[in-house]
Amino acid sequence: MKICGPKCSLCGLIISVWGIVQLVLMGLFFYIHSVALIEDLPLLEEYENLDAFYTAANAAYTQNAYNCWIAACIYVLTLLLSAQQFYMNSRVTAN
């Protein structure tokens, strides 16, 4: 059954691939506590002391890493869906 046309499925395909690649890499960078991504962490404005900050930061890093990887998995599903739609559309036009 056709949910979207050829252009929509191609678009979905490209964004899914891009999403998978980039989210996996971003998850990896979050996992290794990369400093460049420090401003993207869900942290509070102020902490009691330095240790509280460090524990919060480490937790935030791993949490974001898992979020990214889960989103990457959802993009895998989207990829499969788009691919199936794309092949169905190209078979219809071939016929």
Partner: protein, 818 residues
């Protein structure tokens, strides 16, 4: 060239296949209808008309025409032409006949269908008893037995079918002419019937009109004709009606069979024709092109051979001669055709050989202006400078990868994508520039690496070279800390910008200074390169005097002033260091390059800070003054040098012509018989340069000088757009990340992943639309402007016209686009 008339057709066909000659029209004062080969052109037109008619018929039936890509046929020889004509004639007449038959049959079918409907629908109008009385109306097509009717005094009737729109007018008219003595019963048909001529479905109504008397019947019949109602004989007795209905049904079936067989036959004919049609169409096009070209030839006085004139690239001369000999050989002619090279004063067309890679860049340059004949072609250098300047403005590794992938896809599947004929204007532009896009992506990846920018985040590949020397309490109690470079900067980051800058508050202040200086350096280099290109032009056209009179002052002016500014920038980068112990060498004492430049031009001085020196090195003051003085001398040198030289040398050269590289003076007649064409008038125009009055020369040179001097300043400043656009791109990228993607990353655990999924999709779309498409087009446009105005105005003339050879490939491709 001189061609034998018998071999003319084949020779021109060969030349068209090679596509290396541009013919000149020798018969421009002859009307199109009076030229020699007009009848042949008319024949071709007739053939084309037939082919077009068959094509429309094929398209109506929905049969696909095969696409010829690889095996393009050659122009047909006379025997083939006759075959083709016969074939096309036969097919066309068959098609017309079939169409006519079909129309006839369809109208028959319509009549029978209407008759059937009439018979079926009038059941309700008659009851069985009345039927017997109305027997009189049953004799043939509406012929009523007068005597019987009048004798009986009963009602007669006529039955028929009329368009539904006309029913009311019809009824009213009947009422009027019969003074109310006609009784009309009607019933609408539900299903529309197809009009045989147009094929449109029309709604109709069945009617039965009852009347008394012969006169009324005639009147009714006249009204029916007037309203285009079709009358049908309808028997009054039920049994006869049943029989008639059966009859009609069988006839309808037969007719349907015949119709479908006709249609099959038609499809078969069209299918067989459609296989050959594209190749025939191409052959006819080629034929027509050949005859048009032959019309450009002149007939020799002795009527023994055809004479034509053409432009041929020198390297292709042997190809042309081979084509001529092939043409003669194909016809079996013993007398060969041959080619003579003649010198001329006219400006030849400009021809730059390109391959699929360089064609895109050549198009960019040609859009500004086609190069004058044998001028230096900047397209070669544009292959590298264009993507480089684009990349300076677009520097982002992530976006560069996107461009690179797009360009690579188009290049790798170019054979398949080239077959797409109707992708639209925008697709054609993108596909035509696929190599440009590929290179732009590649260079953008490089500058992205140098600017250390991936979707506005930096990559820490080698480890940052800045260290934090403050102790914990200082860090914890201060919101902002400044890290002085003499203690915190350890070493130099190996490639590009240190990744820590992305997180610094003063990132933009630092990058501004760096990128602005970079832009000016690149700009001055580009402009110096442009001025140096003019040397190539002067050397080629043997205008050696211009090298001394124009090039030297121009390059001195540019280098001594703006080249010196570039030197100051580099010197400032090297001299001032935070590790210096001598205070005037610390960064705090570094003077502004712009202020120094302005002071240099105006011979002013500014007071430096306490403990600092005004100048960067000893004898800078003296050096600057010397440069400015020499630069000022260059201006009158440019202004007066060339005109005075022309004035002094004009007196010496009285009669001889040869001083301009484009003219080669003598014109030789090839055979002595044929008069060569209008080159004489044009030679006079080109010579006019000599007779230009001195005041014109001075004014001309004055304009050039003012333009050049002002342009050094304005164009140098114009190159600052390299900084401006790269700043805009970086900031847009950062805003997009912080305002869009960051929201998705700061979400609660596990469930936030779905939010991240949605927001990431939105971020992708925005990145593609704003940062890649919009910024990409913007940077492309600005790079193009930098090339056209800042670079090419230093040396480019661009007054040529393009070489458009007689090539079948170009003609067929051009027609397909239409």
């Amino acid at each position: 060239m001189f061609i034998q008339p018998e071999a003319a057709y084949t020779s021109v066909s060969e030349l068209g296949e090679t596509g290396s000659v541009q013919f000149r029209d020798l018969n421009c004062n002859v009307n199109i209808f009076q030229r020699k080969f007009v009848t042949e052109v008319r024949r071709c037109d007739e053939l084309e008309r037939k082919i077009r008619y068959i094509e429309t018929e094929i398209k109506k039936d929905g049969i696909a025409l095969p696409d010829i890509q690889d095996d393009i046929p050659r122009a047909p020889n006379p025997r083939e032409i006759i075959d083709l004509e016969a074939h096309l004639e036969k097919t066309e007449s068959e098609m017309i006949e079939l169409a006519q038959n079909e129309v006839n049959m369809k109208s028959n079918y319509l009549e029978l269908t209407e008759l059937r409907k009439v018979l079926e629908n009038t059941q309700g109008f008659f009851s069985d008893q009345e039927v017997l009385n109305l027997d009189s109306s049953n004799r043939g097509a509406g012929v009523v037995d007068e005597a019987t009717v009048q004798h009986r005094g009963r009602l007669g009737f006529v039955a028929g079918v009329i368009n539904r729109e006309r029913v009311f007018g019809f009824e009213r008219m009947l009422w009027r002419i019969s003074r109310g003595n006609v009784f009309l019963k009607r019933s609408d048909l539900d299903a529309p019937l197809n009009d045989p001529a147009t094929g449109h479905p029309i709604y109709k109504t069945v009617f039965v009109a009852f009347f008394q008397g012969e006169q009324l019947k005639n009147r009714i019949k006249k009204v029916c004709t007037g309203f285009h109602a079709s009358l049908y004989p309808c028997p009054s007795s039920h049994n006869e009606r049943e029989e008639m209905v059966k009859n009609v049904r069988t006839r309808l079936e037969d007719l349907k069979l015949v119709l479908s067989q006709t249609e099959d036959h038609r499809s078969r004919v069209l299918a067989t024709v459609s296989k050959n049609l594209p190749s025939w169409s191409i052959m006819v096009k080629k034929m027509k092109a050949i005859y048009h070209t032959l019309n450009l030839f002149n007939m020799d006085v002795t009527k023994k051979c055809l004479i034509g004139e053409c432009w041929v690239p020198t390297k292709d001369l042997h190809i042309v001669q081979k084509a001529l000999s092939d043409g003669s050989a194909a016809v079996g002619s013993t007398i060969p055709s041959f080619l003579n090279v003649i010198d001329t004063n006219e400006q030849p067309p400009t021809f730059n050989r390109t391959n699929k890679f360089t064609r895109g860049f050549q198009n960019l340059i040609d859009a500004y202006g086609i190069a004058s004949y044998r001028e230096c072609n900047p397209a070669l250098y544009t292959c590298i400078t264009f993507p480089f300047l684009f990349a300076v403005m677009f520097g982002d590794l992530g976006h560069g990868i996107i461009l690179l992938l797009f360009g690579a896809w188009m290049v790798l599947s170019e054979k398949k994508l080239a077959r797409i004929k109707n992708g639209g204007e925008i697709w054609n532009i993108f596909f035509g520039g696929r190599y440009i896009i590929l290179l732009m992506g590649l260079f953008s990846c490089y500058t992205g690496l140098i600017y250390n920018d991936v979707f506005s985040k930096s990559m820490n590949i080698f480890g940052s070279n800045w260290i934090n020397n403050y102790n914990t309490s200082t860090v914890l109690t201060n919101k902002h800390l400044q890290m002085p470079p003499n203690t915190s900067a350890v070493g130099v980051y190996p490639l590009g910008l240190d990744p820590i800058w992305q997180l610094a508050d003063n990132k933009i202040i630092f990058l501004n200074s760096f990128k602005m200086k970079l832009s000016i350096i690149v700009g001055v280099l580009h402009m110096v390169f442009g001025v140096c290109m003019s040397v190539c032009n002067f050397v080629h056209f043997k205008k050696y005097s211009s090298i001394f009179l124009e090039f030297v002052p121009q390059i001195l002016f540019l280098l001594l002033l703006f080249g010196y500014m570039v030197f100051m920038m580099f010197f400032k980068w090297f001299k001032y260091s935070p590790h210096a112990t001598f205070q005037p060498e610390t960064p705090g004492c570094a003077p502004s390059v712009l202020i120094m430049f302005i002071n240099m031009m105006l011979f002013k001085n500014t007071k430096p800070f306490v403990g600092c020196n005004e100048f960067m090195f000893d004898s800078q003051e003296g050096l600057q003054k010397t440069f400015v003085v020499i630069g000022l001398i260059c201006v009158p040198w440019m202004l007066l040098g060339k005109p005075l030289y022309i004035k002094f040398t004009r007196g010496r050269r009285v009669s001889h012509v040869k001083h301009n590289g484009e003219l080669t003076g003598n014109m030789e007649l090839a055979e002595g018989e044929t008069p060569l064409p209008t080159g004489n008038e044009q030679a006079g125009g080109a010579h006019g340069h000599e007779e230009e009055p001195m005041s014109e020369v001075f004014i001309h040179q004055g304009i050039h000088t003012i333009e050049y001097v002002l342009s050094t300043i304005s164009h140098t400043a114009s190159y600052l757009r390299l900084w401006a656009l790269s700043l805009a791109h970086a900031q847009l990228s950062e805003v997009l990340w912080n305002m869009v993607l960051s929201l998705g990353l700061k979400m609660p655990p596990y469930t936030g992943a779905i939010g991240l999924f949605v927001i990431f999709g939105a971020w992708c779309l925005f990145t593609l639309a704003i940062l890649v498409m919009m910024e990409g087009l913007s940077a492309f446009l600005h790079t193009l402007r930098l090339h056209w105005v800042e670079f090419m105005s230093k040396f480019y003339e661009g007054l040529g016209y393009a070489f458009q050879p007689f090539s079948f490939k170009a003609i067929i491709d051009g027609e397909e686009e239409e």
